[in-house]
Amino acid sequence: MSTVVNTPRPTSAADPSGPAAPLDRLRALQSEGRLVTEYPSVAPLLAELAHGDKGAADLVRAGQLLSRLDPEEVAAANPGTLTVSVAVAGHSTVGALAAPLTAELARHGILLRLALGDFDGYLRELQDTGSQLYAPGLDLALVVLDAQAVFDELPVVWRVEDLEKAAGTKLAQLAKLVERYVEHGTGTLVLNTLPLHRLHTHQLVDLRSRAALGVAWREFNAGLLRLAAVHERVVVIDLDPLVALGGALNEPRMASYAKANLGDELLGRYAREIGHLARTLRGRAKKVLVLDLDNTLWDGVLGDDGADGIAAATTFRGEAFGNFQKIAKQIGSQGVLLAVSSKNDQEPVLEVLRTHPDMVLRDTDFVRVNANWNPKDGNLRDIAAKLNLGVDSFVFADDSPFETGLVASSLPEVAVVRLDEEPALHVERLLADGWFDVRELTAEDRARAALYRVESDRQDLLDSSGSLEEYLEQLGVQVKVAAVGEADLARVAQLTLRTNQFNLTTERLQPAEVRERIEDPDHLVLSVRSGDRFGDNGVVGALFAHRTPQGLHIDNLLLSCRVFSRGIEQATVTSVLAYAVAQGLGPVTAAYRPTKKNHRVRDFWPSLGFEPNGGDEEELSFSHPLAELPAVPSHLRLDTDF
């Protein structure tokens, strides 16, 4: 069996010999006045806290501590901290959202800059383009609504017809305000469906009217959800599934005295969704799900029980594992890469994945199968290196407290899903967080796993080639740089949101912002497609530029990590320089803004003949005089269409 090389931190607060529980450690940091300077240690503490028995309540307590910090002080003391600015407007009081929102964002290492609106201020604040919802640079405008927003419009004595009318009027009003927001606001507007309370339906004593109310209410909520389909910068959080998790919709006394119509528990769940939305805004959605095998994907231990002794179907427990496999496959079908890290021998594992009748997941569903006896933190690093991704884009699920503890302590940037001996709870645990949430899926997402698998064929060619040059010659790379149209808009926006390593300025753009640039004749928005003898890679990169009085400025260049080091980036820039020459534009300028992730492209511009043109630690500027253009690498074929 495995040797213990690295003892994970005990995760149970009950262990008297272990370190203090995370909430106590957080309080200690606060009382010692070190919370601001040691803010980076907050995220792992909160990750631990969230796994505790009273995770939700403890997160709120932690959020109360953290919400008293001055975000400007924290940002100043910790340069490079991701921040997200959020304004909240509501029908009820919105103060109770501050603590859970602060905690849920901090859990992802995101510092919250929060502006809370007035009680029942949402209509005025949506109407007034000078309100904090419209503040320049705002990331998220949360408009938190509850059923009273409609019921308050009813006469003292009402019939279902009154409710139907009020709901219709309110929906029309909201639709208009949303349009106003999309036109004048800069952030993403977040609405929610309005949960219906029994206190609402049962004010009607006749069942026919009650049913009619149910219909009208759901049509109203469906209308709200449709607003997100119409507007790219609108998200509607469906509260029904969050309410269905159980617990009271609100606390009647809090509702009556404090106008808190949505209870703490529900607001906590809402805040969790917002935490994941904030992650996607900052390009931090997880990309890889790494799964253990024994007692995670199947019942039993392959090494002890043999292939005939494990099950993922036919038995009660087996079926629960089979269900978990289905969910993993479902997630994998949407662009999340699946990988295995398992303490097993490789061959028997591959045999089971290829031939065992119970398996829903097959070997071809995984981009990497690491079955070996190395410590799992090392395995995760290995998988990350092979996929050319950071471990911070990983989610790791395992039933062993030892393994989850090890990974949580030695790789705190990995999101850990702690499973246990009850497989019927595996699915719930995996889906408890929206680790893989994105705004929109693209064709590339659905094909991603296949694209990564082809990568191993390329790796084989590289291994058999005498040199990198020989490999590239045989690869037959084709590159097409073209103006972005409707078909590639979502993918290009997504590249700006997800790409971290080859991202020269890390400017994140929502689809609506990409569209604005496409429609602006001074802007150039280009997609980069690539392919080779093994197949089409799809849209793998993007370049943003705009004309200036002096010439052309490249705002950003990004490239998927799948296709690094094939000359694609060089060909792309060369095509833009040639364009500037052909258009008679002046020098082409560009910038590099360092982040924690993009240091490998620090010397990219100079490598193509750009000259340093000043700048500071925040941003280095470069300029290309266009006297001599870099060559298109001879091993690839370049097409341009812009």
Binding site: R61, Q64, T93, G95, R253, M254, Y257, A258, A260
Partner: protein
């Protein structure tokens, strides 16, 4: 019944407010960043601690933590 020590502990713990000793006696206007949501959160925590239901409506008109504690301990 709840002791004064336990009450203060709950105030500090649940509300994460950096309260001075004198804040127990002070009018809420003088207590650091106090608002009515704090009161309701406090009541919920006290109820959880004692297992006894508190009459929120009566407490709302109190103006100091001392006043609230006196009502709770009565």
């Amino acid at each position: 019944m709840i002791t004064e020590t336990a009450f203060i502990q709950i105030v500090r713990d649940e509300l994460a407010l950096p309260l001075a000793e004198t804040d127990l006696e002070n009018d809420f206007d003088k207590v650091v960043s106090w608002d009515s949501l704090h009161l309701l959160r406090l009541i919920a925590a006290v109820e959880k601690e004692t297992g006894k239901r508190v009459s929120v409506g009566k407490l709302l008109s109190e103006r100091s933590l001392r006043g609230i504690y006196t009502l709770l301990a009565a």
